[in-house]
Every structure is written in C-alpha cells, then in structure tokens.
C-alpha cells in the first residue's frame, strides 16, 4: 500500500529520534555521567516504529531491557526519558526506574522491563483487558531472541491461544542474547517463528531492518488480531549496532560484521535510499528532519544534565497509593 507523505515523514522522524537518542547516549555514557546498565536499540528502529505506527493509546505494548526505542515509538516524552536515564527528579519515572523501567501506562506503554521474558504474560493480561473492552485493542509483547527461551514466554503463548486474546508476540531476532548466538540458544537452529507457530498461532516473518516491509506486515498482523482471530507471532530479523550493554567489547562478532550491518542493514539509510530513489520524498525533507531531531536530542541532553537530581526523601514515595 502506498504510504502517505505525512506517515512516511513521521515514521522517518521517529526512527531518527530513536537512532540519535541512542547514538548520543553511547557517547554520553563514555563521560561517566550516566549510571547503571544501559542497553541501546540502535539498528532495530524499523521494528519499533513499524509496529507502533499502527497503534493508538488503546493498544498496549510491553518492552524489554532494550526499551528506549519502543518507548519513543509509543509516544513517551523524549526529554522525560532522557532525564530518567540521567536519574533526574523530572524523569518520566522520577529517577526511580532508570533506563530499564521507562513506562507511560496512559499511552499504553506498559514499561521497559529488566527481567527477560517477564513481558509476555503481562501482555496477555492487557490483551484480556482489551478483549473485554471490545474496542479492538491489541497488546504487543516485544521480546528478544534470548527471551524466547524463557518459560514465561511459552506459557504466555499457550495461554493467549487458549483465551483467544488479541496478543502479538513480537520477536526481534538480533541474533544475540548478550554474548551468545541465537543458533546456540534456540534449539530449533535459531528458528523462533516455527516454534511459536506450533503453539497454535498464525505467524509472520520479515526483515526488521526494512521499515516498509515491517510496516506492511504489521498492518496485516494487527488487522488479524483486531478482528478477533486470537494471538499471533512475528519474527523480525534485525541487528543491534552496539554491544549488549555499554562496555561490551563484542568479541563474539565476526570479522567486519559491525561494519557490514551498519552498511547494509541500516534501516535509516535504506529508508532514505528507497524514498528518494522512488521520488516519494526529497532528500531535503529528510535532512530537515535530521536537523530537527539533532536539536531535540541536544536539548534533551542539555536539559537532563541541568535538571535537578532527586532529593533523598523521594526514596519513600510512590511505594503505595497512600505513600
């Protein structure tokens, strides 16, 4: 389906925001100013955006430890996110959660999650709720290729099938879980979709580095689920451009692999080539967005760095509704 100019511009911008957010974090982390563990999403942008551009606030997603991209794509405030990662009082979670726990439940973003595999059951619950609401909402569990071996993921798939819940198990196969290859850890020689299919779901496979392919595929999947056909699973082949977490020397990669994936599988480069080649958008349109995004990220970082740190007594708030 030919996408509207508006949609293409928005999608490109969203992917670019994610990319620059992550690339900038990669640089900022070297300064030692950002605490904790940070897992960057660079390389996988077409997945988050290709999925979330189909969703409204009545649809739910739940994310993983590698959550920034999903958060941005689902509409979380970028500056609030940056403050959160910097551990500031004005962060989206008041500095209590950090990179691995960014959420905006009102927007249907049920949180990044530090426990591998924890998201899938939670997504089933949101799907049950959406089904009961009867407005066609769907619930999407993002999951890595490593997370697909966690018992919770399997349980959730079976339960969603049994309950015919509108849940999409979205596997981002970036070929690695930490330092381990997917062919080793997933006993079906790395084939995640076939295993999911055997749970009784319809499955889709696609190139997660191609926005257009992902977007079209997800249109189909989401329509299928909105129509009440029960759950579905999707395996998207993608790449992570950085290490598992910041500081990972990535010696498990093949020679030249990082250069190759940056060159051949960069969803932003591919998007630009495609839309300018087909004369759907002008390079200048995209350049303008690039500049706008860089400014946004500059501001986000500058504001985060200048923002006040949480005061010690905030430790004690937000535990329960009454304190």
């Amino acid at each position: 389906m030919q996408l509207s100019r508006e949609l293409m511009l928005r999608a490109y911008r969203q992917m670019k925001v994610i990319r620059e957010f992550e690339e900038r974090l990669h640089a900022e982390i070297q300064t030692g100013e950002i605490a904790g563990f940070t897992h960057l999403y660079s390389g996988q942008e077409a997945v988050a955006v290709g999925v979330c551009e189909h969703l409204t606030h009545d649809d739910y997603i739940i994310s993983t430890h590698r959550g920034h991209g999903h958060c941005i794509a689902k509409g979380c405030d970028v500056k609030g996110m940056m403050q959160e990662i910097y551990g500031r009082a004005g962060g989206l979670c008041k500095g209590k959660g950090g990179s691995m726990h960014i959420a905006d439940v009102d927007k249907g973003m049920l949180g990044a999650n530090g426990i591998v595999g924890a998201g899938a059951p939670i997504a089933v619950g949101a799907g049950i709720s959406a089904k009961l609401d009867g407005k066609g909402g769907v619930s999407i569990a993002f999951s890595g290729d490593g997370a697909c071996n966690q018992g919770t993921t399997f349980e959730a798939m079976n339960m969603a099938v049994v309950l015919k819940a509108p849940v999409i198990f979205l596997f981002e196969n970036n070929h690695y879980s930490e330092h381990t290859g997917v062919d080793y850890a997933v006993g079906t020689a790395g084939d995640i979709a076939s295993r999911a299919e055997a749970f009784g779901m319809k499955v889709w496979r696609g190139n997660g580095c191609d926005f257009f392919e992902t977007f079209e595929l997800m249109r189909e999947v989401i329509e299928y689920c909105r129509a009440g056909n029960g759950p579905a699973a999707v395996e998207l082949d993608t790449e992570r451009f950085f290490g598992h977490f910041e500081g990972d020397p990535q010696r498990y990669r093949g020679k030249g692999e990082l250069d190759r994936i940056r060159e051949e599988r960069d969803c932003l480069t591919n998007f630009r080539a495609k839309v300018t080649g087909a004369k759907l958008l002008e390079a200048a349109d995209l350049d303008a967005l690039d500049a706008e995004v860089l400014t946004l990220i500059d501001e986000a970082v500058a504001e985060a760095r200048a923002a006040p740190r949480p005061s010690a007594d905030n430790v004690l708030t937000d535990v329960y509704v009454n304190y």
């Binding site: 739910y60 979670c93 924890a118 619950g125 709720s129 919770t152 349980e155």
Partner: protein, 336 residues
C-alpha cells in the same frame, strides 16, 4: 446475618464485587472447572469451591479458566490491572508462589515505584495457605512472611468467615496489589457473616481478647489456636491481650506497641518457619520501639526450621499449638 463457611463468605464476596464493578475479573486454574469436557463449564467447581457460580453469572470473558501456568496467570493479572481492570487471580496453594514469584515480586509490587508513581496495579492474588490438612511439604506452607517482606505489596490474612468477607472486599477495591491468604484448613469453618456490603480497613488489628498480663500477636488460622490458649489462661487469672493482625502489610504497629506498653510481655505466634519470619519481624519492631516497656524476653512461637512434614503426628508437632502458646505466655510471666 447468616451463618456460613469461610469458603462461602469468599464466594459471596466475589459475587458481590463482580456485580458491583464490571472491571472485576477472576482468573485461575479450574476456577470454572469442566472447561473442554463433556460435563461442560462448572460441571464441577474449583477445588476449593470458592468460585462456584461465577462463570454462569458473569461469563467466560470475566471468569477465566487458565492452563496450569502460574507465571502467566499472575503476569496476566498484573497486565490486566495496568490496563484498568481489577483482576482477582487464584493460586491454588501458597506454595505455588515459587513458580510465579517474579511476577509478584519484581513486576506487580514494583510497577508503581519503578514508574514513578504514575500508575496503580489493583490486582488481588488469592492463595490458599497453611498446614493442618496433611498435604505435605509442597502443599502446606504459610508463605505470608515472604510476601510481607516485599515493598509494594499488601498482605491480608483473614481468620474467620466474617473477616474474610470484609477484608476481601477491601482487597478488591484497593488500588495496590494485594496477596490475600486464605487459611485452607478453615474453609469449612462456619461463622456469622453479614450479607450486606462492609469493608474492613487495612492496617487495623482486631482485638480478640483483652488482658493486661501479656500481649499475644498473631494472624490467620492461628488466631483460633491463640484464642483457646488465652481462654485457658484466663481461667487461671492470666489476662492475654490477643491481637489478630488481619494485615501483616500494612502492619498495625500502634496496636502492638500500645498493648506491649501495658503488658510488658510479648508473645508472637506465626506459622512461618522461624528464620526471617513474621514472629521475628514483630519482635524486632518491639525490641526497637517498645524496649523500655518490655519486662521479659519476647517469646516466639513458630514451627521449627524444617519443611512441613506429611504425617499427622509430625505436622501437629510442627505447628504452633495451644500448649506451646500457653507455655510461652507462662515463660514470659515467670521471667524473674
């Protein structure tokens, strides 16, 4: 006021709350019973019969029978709660917390805090707990101490049918995640229960007996045991101030400390093994905050540091008993 079993009081509350609020949903294994069989839904109820009739009245979208997948059940409750529902999940035995702890400990209990106070997670997990039915090491544990330890959770333990009704209604309406421990050995005990709606607030202990010589603090099925001990001692002129905590989190510190200020003697009776259990928890509170009032060593009446044994004689020896509670009170009184 009707007389009913504890399980009936729970069933009645579930009916009333589901009727009152369309956001209340129930889920669990064999909650309906008979799904996918010739007998059909509700051919037979759940094994505790606490959910009977819900399916017929509220239908499959709100009364959800699940596969044997506790992590998915509790995770689904967490997710439905984030999405605006008030799920009441059933864990058949408290021991099964072991297979789904992450969803309780690291997910629902932490959402509000991790997300900076911007969400609520109003899920209730109903669990049947405790020894007394010779169900053996993996089906008899108390487990409420482990849950009390978790910041972000509330922990409720009713001791009678009437308490169960008022506390469960409060749990379902509470905006925080609640672990609701049902003493399975008491499911069939009867008591007077008001049929109309009433709520018992959390964090307020119930005064079961008043007395000025010693304070006994306990909860759940051991309230009855302690009551008997207190009655025996009363006949000898020993007055026990017996508190039923009702909720171990939040804890009614004030009631405990006030009582100890009067009696100077504390006996804590707990069904968890002794290490890092509720007995020690309350002892620590009192040794810190009411030290000056204490006139005798704090007495901890708990099972030993062992799993729950199967054989009736062993299980009896394992459990806190009236005799052990009486002995503890006497030990406190005879000190110096």
């Amino acid at each position: 006021m009707a007389t009913m079993q504890l399980r009936e009081a729970i069933n009645l509350t579930l009916h009333q709350e589901m009727e009152r609020d369309p956001n209340v949903i129930c889920l669990g294994e064999d909650l309906v019973g008979g799904m996918g069989t010739a007998g059909g839904p509700e051919a037979i109820g759940g094994i505790w019969k606490t959910t009977a009739g819900l399916y017929a009245k509220f239908g499959a979208d709100r009364v959800i029978d699940t596969p044997i997948s506790e992590s998915a059940i509790i995770g689904a409750a967490a997710g439905a709660a984030l999405a605006g529902k008030r799920p009441v999940a059933e864990l058949m035995f408290a021991d099964f917390i072991g297979v789904c702890l992450d969803q309780i400990w690291n997910q629902m209990a932490k959402f509000r805090y991790m997300f900076g106070g911007k969400t609520t997670c109003p899920a209730v997990i109903r669990v049947a707990y405790g020894a007394g039915r010779n169900a053996g090491p993996q089906h008899s544990q108390a487990a409420y101490a482990m849950m009390t330890a978790i910041p972000g959770l509330k922990v409720v333990i009713p001791s009678t049918p009437a308490e169960a009704k008022g506390l469960l209604a409060s749990a379902i309406r509470d905006d925080d995640p609640v672990l609701f421990f049902e003493p399975k050995a008491l499911y069939a005990t009867r008591g007077e229960v008001p049929e109309e709606e009433y709520l018992i607030p959390f964090g307020h202990a119930r005064s079961v007996r008043e007395g000025e010589h010693a304070t006994i603090v306990t909860c759940g099925q051991l309230v009855g045991t302690a009551e008997k001990a207190a009655d025996t001692l009363a006949k000898e002129g020993i007055g026990c101030d017996l508190l039923d905590l009702r909720t171990t989190s939040p804890l009614d510190e004030e009631a405990i400390l006030d009582s100890v200020e009067t009696t100077g003697r504390l006996i804590v009776v707990d069904e968890n093994p002794p290490r890092c259990g509720l007995a020690a928890d309350i002892a620590g509170l009192v040794a810190n905050k009411a030290f000056a009032a204490l006139r005798a060593p704090i007495q901890l009446v708990t099972p030993p540091h062992t799993p729950v044994p199967f054989a009736p004689e062993l299980e009896q020896a394992y459990m806190p008993s009236t005799a052990k509670i009486e002995a503890a009170v006497r030990a406190a009184l005879n000190y110096r």
